[in-house]
């Protein structure tokens, strides 16, 4: 445990070593958020309600998604593909720690930093923009949304790892990762709530793991899901998590057999 805590500490220090880079990273995320915020603000201007959302509800969704997104999708697992390709994975295989534990520790550090700064940025933006925010008051709902958040986080962790493990069999992981990023942009609910999609497309999105990354935790928080829909969501999410975990284990053991440390 002490080893993994040190990895978390080291990863945080890595981020804060190059302060200007770190600031640029945060500025980039704030600009991304502002673009989506003003896009929705422009679309909803002059309308009481659109797609079943008032302006306040939509802007709450957009602002809070800027918190949920880095928490769930902030990851260092994309480095694993490069480690495999370059042969540097060997350095980690000989160390007295589990590689999965190492990746998870790096991710926890990334998410910790993201959450701290995302909360501060949202507070600053709230003071500047003054949107009508919806604040959840039910403790049960808050607890359930936290559980959904953690489920999304674990799901994304395994999903991202699986993409990186393609490095065992292909020299370039960039294109599959890029494709997954494009699908994720559309199907996670980062840009818009998924229930504005047509019914068939919404049904498709519910069966994909992306649904549980951002959209599901936010909908739970907003209290816009019935008990049945919530239960269904949690069950499907758990099935996806278990499935991706199993796939990750299989891919890891097969990948190690194929691994030749070619870069070294």
């Amino acid at each position: 445990m002490h080893t993994y805590l040190q990895i978390i500490k080291g990863t945080i220090e890595e981020y804060t070593t190059y302060r200007v880079s770190f600031i640029l990273w945060r500025v980039r995320l704030v600009v991304q958020l502002l673009v989506v915020y003003f896009m929705w603000w422009a679309i909803l201007a002059g309308h009481q309600e659109l797609f079943g959302y008032t302006q306040g509800a939509m802007l709450t969704y957009v602002l809070f998604s800027s918190f949920v997104r880095p928490f769930v999708m902030g990851t260092r697992t994309q480095e694993v593909g490069e480690l495999i390709r370059s042969g540097n994975l060997s350095n980690y295989l000989v160390r007295p720690m589990r590689f999965l534990g190492f990746c998870a520790s790096r991710d926890i550090a990334d998410k910790l930093l993201n959450v701290i700064f995302a909360v501060s940025e949202i507070i600053v933006l709230y003071v500047l923009l003054r949107p009508q925010l919806f604040i959840q008051t039910s403790a049960v709902v808050i607890l359930l949304s936290f559980v959904a958040l953690v489920m999304g986080m674990v799901l994304f962790f395994y999903f991202s790892l699986l993409i990186s493990y393609l490095g065992f069999w292909t020299p370039d992981v960039w294109a599959p990762r890029f494709l997954s990023f494009v699908f994720a942009e559309f199907f996670t609910g980062a840009l818009f709530p998924l229930d504005i999609l047509s019914a068939p497309l919404y049904l498709v999105s519910q069966s994909l793991p992306f649904y549980y990354f951002i959209y599901f935790p936010l909908k739970v928080y907003l209290g816009q899901l019935s008990s049945m829909a919530m239960l269904q969501g949690f069950l499907i999410g758990i099935v996806w998590t278990a499935g991706l975990w199993a796939l990750e284990r299989i891919a890891w053991s097969r990948g190690l057999r194929a691994y030749t440390a070619e870069g070294k």
Partner: protein, 262 residues
């Protein structure tokens, strides 16, 4: 002149050979490019499905803006962005010397080495969609319109290059800005939306983003026959100022450049 053309021809062939070396990778990149081209169009279609207009732009006009974005960004990524990414790497690793020692203008040398053919797919997709949309919007395409459109697009590409270059040269002063290119890719996304959307921002945010707000809005307005003298004047004035500024910053930065061996 003949030598330069022959040299550039060799670069074109070398880049093509590098692209098709890994066939599987080549195919995946084509698919990624197509998917990315479609992504923004689909999002615009979705978001405007129940809204007749956004900031004075009708649904058709917004999709035309999105298709122009594909043309614009395709050209930018084909000829410019990978070279600037490479320059950022060269500055970080102290390898810019090899570029500076070449017998050509150093700023020109920043943009000629790499050609990303895959991004031409976005250009083709964007042009096809643009022609289709012009038909649905009942706008007649004329030769002067096409000439002005491409002239404005190329000027916009130069404007975006001039916007990116000063940021890249910051690495000469602080080589640890390793994520500056990713930052610029994200900031460039601002250009996807109409200029009018940003007019409500505070001046200190709107003014730095003005070049990005103009680079797509202007060529789209050429197609929509809404190109005014004022817009044209603003567009070319910003382009000239940005171009001169980028040149000045590049020359100033080179005086402070210290390579890895110095």
């Amino acid at each position: 002149m003949k030598k330069s053309i022959l040299l550039y021809r060799r670069l074109l062939i070398a880049n093509w050979n590098a692209l098709i070396e890994y066939r599987g990778d080549f195919i995946t990149q084509i698919i990624s490019s197509l998917v990315f081209s479609l992504n923004h169009i689909i999002i615009v279609l979705l978001l405007t499905s129940k809204v007749p207009s956004v900031y004075g732009w009708s649904r058709g006009e917004l999709i035309l803006l999105a298709s122009t974005y594909n043309v614009f960004i395709g050209i930018f990524h084909t000829f410019i962005s990978r070279n600037l990414d490479q320059i950022a790497d060269d500055i970080y690793f102290g390898k810019l010397d090899y570029v500076l020692l070449k017998p050509i203008d150093s700023q020109l040398a920043t943009v000629i080495w790499k050609i990303n053919y895959i991004s031409l797919i976005r250009v083709l997709f964007g042009l096809t969609l643009t022609v289709y949309l012009m038909g649905t919007l009942h706008i007649i395409i004329t030769v002067p319109m096409i000439v002005v459109y491409f002239f404005v697009i190329i000027t916009g590409v130069y404007m975006l290059y001039s916007f990116w270059l000063p940021f890249i040269t910051l690495m000469i002063f602080n080589p640890r800005l390793s994520n500056i290119v990713i930052f610029l890719f994200n900031i460039t996304n601002v250009a996807r939306y109409p200029k009018e959307m940003y007019a409500r921002l505070p001046l200190y945010i709107f003014v730095p983003l003005l070049p990005l707000a103009l680079i797509l809005t202007t060529p789209t307005k050429v197609l929509l026959q809404k190109f005014t003298f004022e817009l044209g004047f603003l567009f070319f004035a910003v382009c000239i100022v940005l171009g001169l500024f980028a040149r000045f910053i590049w020359k100033l930065s080179l005086r402070h450049y210290t390579s890895a061996s110095s």
